[in-house]
């Protein structure tokens, strides 16, 4: 059986020392091993940005796609072969700016894949511009007078989009994050995990300490019930989305593939896909 070391490769990440992404990488490797996966059973798809490099840093089938488009690629892989474990990953710019349309629709579509966002509230790779999750007033190269726009609320947007699994954590809590990713991988349907991953180079406001001070663990909320939409929405509103844990899960919902009666093949990849003589004749007859 594979250990987390089997999910390591020879590449040294080019992230800045102290970047939150290192811990997310480690948590994914640990969660995959803990769930009994072999490296070849995992397809990891990323977008563009610092976080996008992740597909090259974990030993598995890795696909580094285009900016904002990791989710469509990941969903396409899963639709071809339901036996693969598919993780899509990217940053807040990738998922909530250029790729927001795909994010919303992947949430509502509920294909059985896991989406891990590394949210640092800043554009890092392009060297410090505002991001869709940057707080109002946040000063960057492109918002010298402070951001004028309101930030996207990813968890609330996910709730509104029909998500069946929503979780959030901090990259610094590797243990808690590993457990969340394990549950996300086990969830039958689309699992969305937002991880605050501090950018130590360009974001001097939303630091490791800032996140620790501002986030509330749902375990500390007495009447919290992550299956109750009303309670989840109430606390998301009350804490401005800053909740930690598996914030919402609908364990009963059917995944996309489970809705399709004819799509019963767990692996729809066939070396020689065939059309029987009878099917050929029948379909051709419909053109008469």
């Amino acid at each position: 059986m594979a250990t987390f070391k089997d999910f390591r490769n020879h590449i040294k990440p080019n992230w800045c020392p102290g970047c939150g992404d290192f811990s997310i990488q480690a948590a994914i490797q640990k969660a995959c091993a803990a769930n009994g996966l072999e490296p070849e059973e995992l397809a990891l798809v990323t977008g563009i940005g610092c976080s996008g490099r992740l597909s090259g840093y974990i030993k598995s089938y890795g696909f580094h796609s285009t900016h904002g488009r990791s989710l469509p690629v990941a969903q396409g892989i899963k639709m071809a072969n339901q036996e693969l474990t598919v993780i899509a990953s990217g940053g807040d710019g990738d998922g909530f700016a250029i790729g927001m349309g795909h994010t919303i629709h992947a949430l509502k579509r509920n294909i059985d894949i896991t989406y891990i966002v590394m949210d640092n509230q800043i554009y890092g790779l392009t060297k410090g511009q505002t991001s869709p999750t940057s707080d109002a007033g946040f000063v960057t190269k492109t918002t010298p007078d402070g951001a004028k726009e309101n930030p996207i609320a990813p968890l609330k947007a996910a709730m509104a989009s029909g998500a069946t699994f929503i979780a959030q954590s901090l990259s610094s809590d590797i243990k808690g994050l590993t457990a969340i990713i394990q549950e996300a991988l086990n969830h039958k349907g689309f699992s969305f995990v937002n991880v605050f991953s501090p950018c130590v180079t360009y974001n001097k406001i939303n630091t490791y300490d800032w996140y620790k001070e501002n986030i509330v663990d749902i375990a500390d909320l007495e009447d919290y019930d992550n299956a109750d939409r009303a309670i989840v929405s109430k606390y998301l509103e009350e804490h401005n989305g800053m909740l930690k844990g598996i914030v919402y899960q609908d364990k009963e919902a059917k995944s996309y593939a489970e809705h399709i009666e004819s799509y019963n093949d767990t692996n729809n990849v066939h070396e020689t896909p065939e059309v029987s003589e009878n099917d050929f004749k029948e379909l051709m007859a419909s053109f008469k």
Partner: protein, 575 residues
């Protein structure tokens, strides 16, 4: 007695014009006639003039006719817009309901029949189309039995009453017409007997879809757009039979990226769209080229630019399909020569995409995609699936951390293990990369990998990159693609001069060495295409030096070429 007749039905969009044409043409196809139809429609659901032009022949026809013999009108606008196309002595059969009139200057017969009123008396005005068909049948001396069969096929599931009412409507139209045709020479409207060959009657989009299923497609992702939607609709209807499915995505970018993901995983997937969708897909097509992931995208060209003429004929995406996406990628652009060929070329598109691990654009145009026409049956024994160097079974253990997916090879193609296989793990990225797929922006590696990718296009690609029609040897060479091929063939057959016609199927890379003997031997090379800039002409000129001998025939008003127009244009150039 005639060998061909053109019958046209028109009215307001949404009042059953489409189904009137469908019932009439399907019946005639089943009788054994060759048909070619053209739909005039607008991008709105209800209202606006629409017509369905159906050319019926005892011989193969692959072009819209020059004029019309019979015009069935459900409103005055139909007469106003179309009557001038009637031949001398042509007939208009019009509904009494709108008190039809026709310009006295036209030498045509106006026959008024109460389509709507008669249908109402029988039970429902919905059956006015059956009254009109019955009247047409009388004029053309077609036994109503043929239409009864069609009525049974269409309405049996709705009950015997409905079937009976529709038969009554057919009879009523037939009888009403019988009272009005005494003074006509009915031989002008009667077709000779058809041959007894087996025939299909379908739109190009059907042929492409059926081809895709036979090529092994089991998953499709697409976003609705005219004139491509019929492809996804066909797949939605028929893929479940093969354990497959279709996702209607949020946009065209998602559609093409899902197809890329599915193909990366070893499936055979594709997407279909038209100009606006293809514009959105350009970055993704580049990803397919850079990551060497097979991809097939169908582009059913319509009038551009921007929203352009969304329901009209054009071939103005050629340049974008050949040169679109930033940077240099190997790409193949194919254009089926007709509806029958669309079936086989679609299968070949999937094979080429996988053998050479690159994007293949399969072009169609609105007239080929939506013009319903007769085709020979498809031959299953000619269906061949070639999965190239895709690896489907666990691989041997190797020394390196990652499998060298992008190893440099003579033909530019390397082995492609699909996810899930042992010892096949590698990385895929749109960033320039090492043989194992990990990023490398170094100069030497860049050159090696770029050369490797681009080298693929030096291989023999399509088995038959073009077809030669007309005279094998002549002074005039015509070059055309897609639905224009049929028009050119017909136009050339009417000319006294010898003309060679090339139906180009592999637009890019242009098979210039194979074309050279034909090009060199021609005193005049005429490229005929539906766009303003002469896009195909430009690509020919980029590949071939004899510019002074190259001329273009261009049309960009949204309507398909007609044979008589092409005859006149060719004469203007060569005389």
């Amino acid at each position: 007695m005639k060998d061909q007749i053109t019958w046209k039905v028109g009215g307001q969009q949404g009042e059953g014009i489409e189904s009137t044409g469908e019932v009439f043409s399907t019946t005639l196809n089943r009788m054994g006639y060759y048909l070619y139809s053209y739909r005039h429609f607008s991008s709105r659901i209800k209202g606006g003039h629409t017509n369905n032009n159906i050319r019926i022949s005892t011989r193969e026809v692959r072009a819209v006719a020059d004029n019309t013999n019979i015009l069935v009108a459900f409103d005055q606008q139909t007469i106003d817009v179309n009557a001038h196309e009637l031949v001398t002595g042509g007939v208009i059969i019009a509904d009494e309901k709108f008190s039809p009139t026709v310009d006295d200057a036209l030498d045509v017969e106006l026959i008024v029949i109460p389509f709507t009123e008669t249908a109402k008396e029988i039970g429902s005005q919905l059956m006015k189309n059956m009254v009109a068909i019955g009247a047409s049948a009388k004029l053309m001396d077609i036994n109503l039995e043929h239409f009864y069969e069609m009525v049974h096929t269409l309405f049996a599931r709705k009950g015997e009453d409905i079937v009976e009412s529709n038969r009554k409507a057919l009879n009523a139209g037939y009888d009403l017409m019988a009272e009005k045709v005494g003074h006509l020479n009915l031989d002008d409207f009667k077709l000779n007997a058809p041959d007894d060959k087996e025939k299909l009657f379908l739109i190009g989009n059907d042929a492409i879809s059926f081809g895709a299923i036979n090529a092994g497609v089991r998953f499709m992702a697409a976003y609705p757009i005219t004139p491509a939607s019929e492809i996804m609709e066909y797949m939605i209807k028929h893929l479940p039979r093969f354990g497959g499915t279709v996702i209607q995505t949020e946009d065209e970018i998602s559609a093409v990226m899902m197809a890329i993901g599915s193909n990366y995983a070893g499936g055979r997937s594709f997407t279909s769209s038209a100009g606006p969708g293809l514009s959105l897909m350009m970055e993704s097509i580049g990803l397919s080229g850079m990551t060497e992931t097979p991809l097939v995208v169908v582009d059913t060209m319509r009038g551009g630019p921007s929203t352009g003429l969304p329901t009209k004929q054009e071939q103005s995406d050629i340049m974008q399909m050949v040169y679109g996406t930033h940077g240099d990628i190997p790409k193949i652009v194919l254009a089926p020569s007709d509806v029958e060929d669309a079936f086989y070329t679609t299968i070949e598109a999937f094979n080429l995409a996988e053998i050479y691990q690159l994007p293949v654009i399969l072009l169609s145009d609105l007239q080929m995609s939506l013009g319903k026409q007769t085709s020979d049956p498809f031959d299953q024994s000619k269906v061949e699936i070639n999965r190239g160097k895709t690896v489907f079974t666990d691989m041997e253990a190797h020394e390196t951390d990652y499998f060298h997916r992008y190893e440099d090879t003579e033909d530019g193609v390397s082995r492609r293990p699909i996810p899930g296989l042992k010892n096949g793990i590698h990385h895929v990225t749109g960033v320039e990369h090492n043989p194992d797929g990990t990023p490398n922006e170094g100069a030497e590696n860049r050159k090696t990998q770029m050369d490797k990718r681009m080298r693929k296009l030096s291989n023999q690609l399509m088995k038959e990159p073009f077809k030669v029609h007309g005279d094998e040897e002549s002074d005039v060479l015509m070059l055309s693609i897609l639905s224009v091929n049929g028009v050119v063939d017909e136009a050339v057959s009417r000319l006294d001069e010898k003309v060679t016609v090339i139906h180009l199927k592999q637009i890019y890379p242009m098979p210039i060495e194979k074309l050279r003997p034909y090009l060199d031997g021609a005193k005049k090379i005429i490229v005929i295409e539906h766009n303003y800039n002469g896009q195909l002409t430009s690509i020919l000129k980029m590949n071939y030096a004899g510019h002074e001998r190259i001329a273009s025939i261009l049309k960009y008003d949204g309507t398909p070429f007609k044979p008589n127009e092409v005859v006149a244009e060719i004469k203007g150039i060569i005389n």
